[in-house]
């Protein structure tokens, strides 16, 4: 089947999509957008978090057909332009605080934090911990990510 959706502001089409495919597979393998990562394959780790019509979702749990006619934003679509000064405040905060290590959880976390701050511009620490409890990171020990969220909230 053909899937047509708006991805990062552009209308994109994918042909010969198998109905059992995930939105994550379509983004990564058919549309050349590897930002959302395939890590746990079952919605446990948050590494594939993208926006679907403005709602954060695990792209591995969304069937490709469910994206038909809808709007998808991935980590690649958050920065208004290229270059470090053009990055979104969440991306800049992750760089400045050293919240990035291997980088595999980072794209999903950045989308999740972007969403959190859109809903709650000044989250408390317990709110941050709760909001990001579905995004696993195995490297950082999470403290630097907390710092990044606090910094992004005030920038």
């Amino acid at each position: 089947m053909r899937v047509t959706c708006v991805v990062n502001g552009e209308t994109r089409e994918a042909d010969d999509v198998w109905p059992g495919e995930s939105l994550l597979f379509v983004l990564r393998e058919r549309l050349g957008l590897p930002g959302a990562k395939n890590a746990c394959e079952q919605g446990e780790c948050g590494s594939c978090t993208v926006y679907l019509d403005g709602q954060p979702v695990c792209a591995c749990l969304v069937a490709a057909g469910q994206a038909q006619g809808r709007t998808v934003t991935t980590v690649e679509g958050l920065a208004p332009g290229s270059g470090e000064e053009q990055l979104d405040r969440v991306q800049r905060a992750f760089l400045a605080t050293g919240a990035v290590q291997c980088g595999f959880c980072t794209p999903g976390l950045i989308v999740a934090v972007h969403d959190l701050l859109a809903r709650d511009p000044a989250p408390s620490d317990p709110d941050i911990r709760e909001a990001l409890a579905g995004n696993l990171c195995r490297c950082t020990g999470y403290e630097k990510i907390m710092e990044a969220v606090r910094l992004a909230a005030t920038s």
Partner: protein, 749 residues
Amino acid sequence: MSPVVGKPVNRVDGPDKVTGTGRYCGEIVLPGLAYGLIVGAAVANGRVVSIDETAARAAGGVFGIMTHRNTPKVANQPRLIPSLAGQPAPGESFFPMQDDVVHYWGQPVALVVADSEEAAAHAAALLDITYEPGVPVATIADGRASATQAKTLFGGLMPATDERGDVEGALAAAEVTVDATYHFAANHHNPLETSVTTAQWDGDRVTLWDSTMGVRASQLTVASLLGIPLSDVRVITHFVGGGFGSKAMVWPHVTLAAMAARHVGRPVRLALTRPQSFTSNGHREEQEQRITLGAGRDGRLTAIRHRKLSVTSPFDDWAEPATGVSTQIYGCDNYLGDHQLIHGNTMTPTFTRAPGESLGSFTLETAMDRLAYELGMDPIELRIMNHPPVDNHGNPWSSDGMADCLRRGADLFGWAGRDPTPGTRQEGNDLIGTGVAGAGYPVAFMMPVQHARARIFHDGSVVIQTSAQEFGIGVTTSMSQVGADGLGVDMDVLRFEAGDTDLPNTTSAVGSMGATMQSSAVHNAATTLRNDLIAHAVNDGKSPLHGLSPSSVKVADGRMTSTLDPSIGESYADLLQRNRLLDMEALGSWTPPGMDTPHGLLTFGAQFAEVAVDKDLGLVRVRRMTGVFAPGRVLNPKLARSQLLGGMLWGLGQALLEGNQIDRQSGRWALNNLGEYLVPVHADIPDIQVDFVEVEDDVVGPLGVKGVGEVGQVGAAAAIANAVFHATGRRMNELPMTAEVVMNGGGPG
């Protein structure tokens, strides 16, 4: 002091990661790429009787199916040797699909290659495989009677027994003894990126994009198994999504990817699924450790007996060495450490973060806490009193810092005035306790010569190259810092290239040795090039520096100036352009000291934890942790702090959450996904504090770097367990300390 080493510089690979544009090894775009999927054995012991491929071949998009009937025979099966030794480093001394025998559950028995991941998964499900199953033995409970004393570990590299003095005599004579036995569940690494290899042939040459912790180890192993020259195997790795030991040794899927690409005549990507990452890249083995301490009433240790029993594969005498710290962190004349092995139906276990010593130290450090209670001594003073100035061979430490770590940690944590009586603090339903543990991790020396290249172009821009890749620890950043200072240029004009076997050799970044080895080679390359450039200038009649002694020339921002008169000088670029040199380069090398270097080599630290234990439900929450470490020169505190925090959280996971067991009937791992194998999440983290004790070390390398990858984890679980005892008055003899263990297990101290 140099301008950028030691500064909290931002990661140079950060922008690629926060924008999602960095390409990991499973994201390489190649025309005609096919997707491989391993089919694992559904029995743990037995034989493949038949494989009917009819339905699978009829499914759409299938390019090929490999089984033991058509998989090429390997040319040379190397023996297991740790990846940092610079030799082929197979995860196990076994290659699958060479015959019909099944040794462990999940062992590859077929490989399907198709035009998409989904098509490969569909065809794999249609393979009809029948087995003649045998009875598996895969657990300590089933294999205890067959346990034997290991002679050596790691393919013969290390002795399995460490003995001195008369431990039995000293225990019999000891005024105070402590005896404790622990059971530890198996752990899995679970990096967010599962292992993946993309293979592409060009004639007789193969290129592998491999999610490895050591491109050189992958190259050596694949070349040996395929029987082709090293020059025909190129391994490239620019981004790796975490490793923690699972990507240190080279597992069969790497070579299977190359075989599959040749089989179907297309480039092939072969990724382990998350469930396969529990059965295909090693694990920290299920183990039992028993420790017996003997001491005088004054607190001096007189005897330590430390024994480990664990399950390994049919092929290899693998055990995490558990006694490398307990033999030396506290002085004791009478010592026995040894390892017993059960050869069972599992794959060969492997390095898992803080290999061996995280659990070895757990055993020692909880026993030291018991001893402190037996003696009525403060556990910090007991440790400091027993920590010697020399190692178990009488060699002085290359650098120490243990006592300072304990004391500074005590200040930061607020240890003073603690009432040691267990079970006395309660807040609502929670029993509150605090605990401490010492930490140590060996600095390992058994590596080949390390190389790096520094090259400057006539516009003043610089490239520094070495083969060992970035996998999250920050080498791209810290080596850029080391190269910039060594050469005397700004970081902005320097690019660090790595992750490619075509570049000069450095060894796998494992065992906390990446920073030490690479920084030594990079430093030597950069300073050699600096010295060559200065020599060129002072010998050049047209240079303003002509005739000066090289020692009276200094460099900053790419400009050489006289130390006597800073107005006299010229830039590297001016020198090169005037001499019509398009570039200059230098190879730096560093020969690591041997294992017989006459120094004690441990990285020291101290860990503190406060826990709240729900007295009705047995739930343990860690409320705060303090870790203080003495890792020698810290190249970049922003990176190092994050590494150590991550290690401490691994200790928390090991203490409370992470554990897997093999089902005794089927021989199959009970858990195989991140929904059931629990790792710490944001909501689990306590208030964590990390600090450093500065120690200078001129033995471990020219920059004195001892590494931070492992020591952050060591002692963390022990501090938590000691805090649980302080809270509850009960000793936990199992990890992880789940609610069931806390409620039902353990016993009085």
